[in-house]
Symmetry: C2
Subunit: 475 residues, 2 copies
Amino acid sequence: MLDAVRSALGDKAVIADPDAIEPWLHDWRGRYHGASPAILAPLDTAGVATIVRLAAEHDVALVPQGGNTSMVGGATPPANGRALILSLRRMNRIRAIDPVENLAVVEAGVILSDLHEAAQAQGRRFPLTLGAKGSATLGGLASTNAGGTQVLRFGTMRALVAGVEAVLPDGQVHDGLSALKKDNRGYDLDQLLIGAEGTLGVITAVTVRLVPAVVDRAVAWVGLAGPDDALALLRQMEAQTRAIESFELLPDESLAAVLAHVPQSRAPLSGVHPWHVLIEAVASDAYAEPPAAVLERMLAPALASGLIADATIAATEAQAEAFWRIRDSISASERAMGPAAQHDISVPVAVMPRFMIEAAAACEAAFPGTHASGFGHLGDGNVHFHVRAAPGTDPACWYSDQAPFVTRFVHDLVVAAGGSISAEHGIGQMKLGELERLSAPSRIAALRAIKSGLDPQGLMNPGKLVALAPDHSKP
Amino acid sequence: MLDAVRSALGDKAVIADPDAIEPWLHDWRGRYHGASPAILAPLDTAGVATIVRLAAEHDVALVPQGGNTSMVGGATPPANGRALILSLRRMNRIRAIDPVENLAVVEAGVILSDLHEAAQAQGRRFPLTLGAKGSATLGGLASTNAGGTQVLRFGTMRALVAGVEAVLPDGQVHDGLSALKKDNRGYDLDQLLIGAEGTLGVITAVTVRLVPAVVDRAVAWVGLAGPDDALALLRQMEAQTRAIESFELLPDESLAAVLAHVPQSRAPLSGVHPWHVLIEAVASDAYAEPPAAVLERMLAPALASGLIADATIAATEAQAEAFWRIRDSISASERAMGPAAQHDISVPVAVMPRFMIEAAAACEAAFPGTHASGFGHLGDGNVHFHVRAAPGTDPACWYSDQAPFVTRFVHDLVVAAGGSISAEHGIGQMKLGELERLSAPSRIAALRAIKSGLDPQGLMNPGKLVALAPDHSKP
């Protein structure tokens, strides 16, 4: 197989030096460890097609890899050492940016922050961002239907991808890049490939939607009694404006953790409040109502009616950034407080306030000494729900013996609330078992039917998303 | 099979009276004719599941049917008389409307105009409408990914459906109604079922998104030189406002046809212009810029720069309705001028102006005496492209001997322009052969793999969208 790839695509397309391979055999958090004799690194779509065809001929499994930023082990090769890593990182051209049509055609290996900059240079923006923007690639973002902090207004990758180019498991190229606004020619293959985690083929390029660059923004910090009031405030705002782009909820203990661990951080409000909300409003054209005016118009009556206890609008861009820094420092600050089980979950938005309170109480009752809390994108129904080990717990013991039970418990609560055990991180290998345990048989049967219909040899990213026989991830 | 359904669901669930069945054996335009011994009419999702299970046991094909308004024979049973019609029309409850979450849960048999009224009663609207709104059902609209005149702003059904409940071919119920904003639990079955034309299972209910009711609207009529200028105007407007909801382009001959055939119709502008555009701007909240002001702000500089020749904004609601009546009368008026081949096609928006001119010229050159023209949703890249027979052509001869060649010719032009031979009407049985002729082998292979993976017996709406062996639509 490796000789065939070398002879078809040249020596540079095969990386077999163990030292060069090593960093890509593990996920970035060091939780998953795989093995592979080589990384294949094609330069273009034709090269990917050649590799996929050769893999089918030689019955060799492929693990597509972009920035290797998966939170669920989705890009780590299986431990049996028989799969090859297919790196898309050399395919990193922005093929076109069209500021009139508001579309960009981008290869799979383009890094998110590079696309941000290229769009900005044309007076546009790609309205999806997340912590890993400096290494996450567009191919990986599409393959995992990534989310982030702007989903409230712009949706996940599924809403932002207008077309997909991919190599299907039989080595043929599916070209859906033309980004037709209306196209009813049978099952939507683009939508099927988005979020498929590379198990149905390899995304090689995407056409993505752009929006006008931001003209003005305003950031508010609000103190209030609880998640119920926060949701009521969000609903009031949504009924009166389309300018709200972020609406992040956090408990006072998360703010306290940040204040305790991040130097020079300050509480935005003077009083003490049980819960906090960070709100960003944005204007994309000069005729829109100024974002600060939008926030004032919304927050004044909420203060007057007692729905919220206090609020302040950042007076300067530096202050706005300081508000966001608090939000972005929560995970790191809480990590400093001890080992925890973290859950990327969603429930229907209307249910979220009650879920946050009741699930935390249920967890703490079921696992005495633990401390549970949630924070995040209230408007998306997506919170990051953390359960911290009892003080003094040995981290190794927590992760091997206790955290899995906590996670099963949390997932059961999520399913009972009609929610999803994977809001934005996907299934990968981490949640494969939980997906099977908690899904209706019809869903698993349908996933298997689609997988085995499109990838009958089971060679595309084996052992991720849905388990199949023959399982190329097993010894 | 019929006895089994009667014994499971009661006598009312089986309609076997030939007179009652007859109207549902043909499409509404009378182009497709099928045969079936019975219509099955379950009352609820459990009833549909029972029928699908029994069909699998008895190896009997099912043809799901809503309002029977397909433009491509998608709901007409095969002529072999062995399939049963599965009518969803008795499942016509609006299960819930939530004006806070802006969601409605609607059964498959609910008629579109009934949903419009129910949403309006709660100060909301469902922003998709089309000519057949008095009979088209939500199940059919979702199964065909229907479009309409508001796609420019709100997208097709794919963007408006937040969740799907369906009975899969194995008789199990897929429940995706909970409408999570973030959910990455494997392949998106909801998106796969939308636009699948009932070939992968039967949609029994959908959760759809609502938007605020319209507070104010303004409608303008613009005269200009050609499609290029129209697209430039649309781009100018889109860069400065989000209020534009419709942007319909028509040639002067379409206006002339309406003026000649529709009593009491009047030209909106005094001069003669080669092309016309109808524009609707809408405000959904009291703080938005008034729609008439939006249109004035956009049209005044376009007039001053010479991009457009003339424009008027409807002064009254009656005048606005008169403008829309012209647009809505084009098809009927042109039909009165002789037989034609009609094509529901799309190309990339940027290509559309040139395509409209060049494709019309190419058709008229290839088929002397014919007359070709396009009108429609410029902003969606979707025009209705009509080729009228040479004057004096016998209609029967045209439809049997000439129109098919014209259609192949038009479709070849569409494919060469990177477009779709089905913009919003789907494939059904009408375009099955053309889809196979004009698709990349990878697309057809993938459609077949998905179909045979999920419906191995081939019992779900056989002979539609993709052909398979065993083909339950064949004698």
